[in-house]
């Protein structure tokens, strides 16, 4: 085998193996650093939520390809719209806790840092068909609330 052939074979094997590693390292996921209004509307339906007018999507990640799908969303709303947002949400009757976080940091997901939040409320509710919605409200700021939402199937 010539040197050129050897190089080609090595490149081919490298490409195949890196492709396998990508597939097996985490199903299929897509990150949405600029969450558009249209995307927010899609997420509202999935998460059974109605976002207030001040909502700004900060980042999102859709996870598919495994037995259960998941959706991570980080958004920001005005603090004075928080109560009405919660009242219209599946968390309306939930006991949100300030001593336990229902979402946590994840490796390789630098924009998702709920563990760094000091003042918070957090909870979990079961939706229909084995779906679950977790929330963490970052109350560290005066006028804005950063909301971490994790929806997933079971």
């Amino acid at each position: 085998m010539s040197r050129v052939d050897l190089l080609l074979v090595t490149c081919f094997l490298g490409a195949v193996l890196s492709g396998c590693a990508t597939v097996w390292s985490g199903g299929r996921s897509s990150v949405e650093p600029d969450v558009t209004k249209e995307k927010l509307q899609q997420y509202e339906k999935v998460m059974h939520l109605t976002f207030p007018g001040s909502t700004r999507g900060l980042n999102a990640r859709e996870v598919t390809g495994g037995p259960d799908d998941a959706l991570y969303l980080k958004a920001e709303i005005d603090k004075d719209e928080l109560d009405s947002f919660l009242k219209k949400s599946p968390f309306a009757d939930a006991n949100l806790r300030n001593d336990q976080k229902f979402v946590g940091n994840e490796k390789g997901q630098t924009w998702w840092q709920p563990d760094d939040v000091k003042t918070y409320k957090s909870g979990q509710v079961s939706l229909t068909q084995g779906e679950v919605l977790n929330i963490l409200l970052d109350l560290d700021q005066d006028k804005k609330v950063v909301i971490y939402l994790l929806w997933h199937e079971t």
Partner: protein
Amino acid sequence: MLMNSDGARRHRNKEINDAMDFVEQFTTLNSNFKTSSIVGTWTRGFNSDNDSGNWFFAVGGYSAVGSANVKVLPDCMYLMEFAFNFSDRYNWDAHKGVTMPLGHRVKDTELGRLHLVGLAQEYDMVGTYEMRVCWHKGYRYPTEPGQTDDPGRTGR
């Protein structure tokens, strides 16, 4: 799963901490309380692909609950035989699928059909992780990354 998934370990530790909270509060209110069995409420967890690729594909989302037999010891100490109980249904949902290496897509409807005609079977996944926890009032397990998991006197 507890060995490989940070999320699952955090979930277990939260359940332990909830049990510790309950026991300490209950004994404060009821000084005659010496032994008891307690059960928490079912909560849900998710094995993220970032956390553990294997458990993401094998289980994904799941339900778990903590239960324990508790003994109150002298000097603000407590002993608990704690169990972290796991449950999930391995099933195929019509609207889903999984992507295999080299991009081959297998739809859940195809696998679900095998179940319907008797060539495959959906099943329940259950498991229990048991451990003995002995702690002083106020001790809590770490639930955030970077905190060392030093439980003191525990054993599986």
